[in-house]
Symmetry: D2
Subunit: 109 residues, 4 copies
């Protein structure tokens, strides 16, 4: 079994043991992901990157991944494929010769 | 090479071709992840889950994953491990006999 | 008419001319507020505070306020009162002698 | 003193008593606002609008407002003015005859 399939299977087993599938509609999963992204961000509040505690980052990032994998599963997305497709797409939006060394957004390049 | 390692390697190659490593400190990666989580949420705004366009969800979820993988890489986290550890931890916070069929938060169970 | 009442009345007139009340349930207003908060954050992505463009901040902050006022109105909250109440509450969580000059969260003080 | 000026003055007094001005740069205020927006959203997670607890909404919305007012103050924005300006701008993006009764985003109208 592939890595992401395996993680997702574990997340689903956890969910189903608790009969939580009824709550996990895509909209609420996206809401949950946003809440966890906010908690991740809290690790950095009033701080530099270096001052953030890795243990807190780890915990919150794990939650972000959990909801992201569950949402991907709802739609039957292959995570590897959608990320590689997006990289491809971004390569067009951010051609190396224009984007190199600048953080400017594509619509202002 | 494992799946997540492979995705991460592709993301880093994309980043390094553009010399973007200088911008990608952990705090800004967490900020970027939040922005993308917000764009993902926009797929569901004023809509039911069913009305959201899967194509939009796919695009934005891919961006969320991209920044989540890049952030994990910054800390040397093994994504599979941190998610499985969190499942373990949540199993204690949400024991099946108490949590089954209810969406109540652990501190109110 | 008080200032916030006046702003809120204008927001509601704008909404009602477009017959958007049907979409503006509290949950979706909170979702909209999060999306706008993300767009506000984008003004600072890969940047220092000084590098962010005030014009972009202004636009996005206005959107955050718009949804915040609309949500407050849904519940009949008096914005001034709820903020002053929260300041009062935070004064207890963050007593001056403990909190002075430190960004530590109240539960770690 | 106008209402918003008064709220802002109270927030600044609270901040200055604790010597927190040093942490309150615009970027971190925008980060804080996002975290609070996420906590507000949590009031609605796995729930309908009706199931959300107004008391939780009130608390979190107050925090959103607090950071929004503090950020506006940093830039010297007149909150009433920027919201009214945005309404004006949105009136052009969403003309009544096109936008009435539809939640479609302006770029798809």
């Amino acid at each position: 079994m592939k890595e992401i399939e395996e993680i997702t299977a574990k997340l689903i087993a956890f969910r189903d043991e608790r009969d939580w599938s009824q709550f996990h509609n895509p909209k609420d999963l996206a809401v949950a992901l946003n809440i966890e992204a906010g908690e991740l961000l809290e690790a950095y509040l009033w701080k530099t990157s270096e001052e953030a505690k890795p243990e807190k980052v780890k915990e919150e990032l794990a939650d972000v991944f959990a909801y992201a994998f569950l949402l991907a599963e709802k739609y039957g997305f292959d995570v590897k494929q959608i990320v590689l497709d997006k990289i491809q797409k971004n390569a067009t939006k951010y051609p190396v010769d224009k984007a190199k060394g600048t953080a400017t957004k594509y619509n202002e390049l």
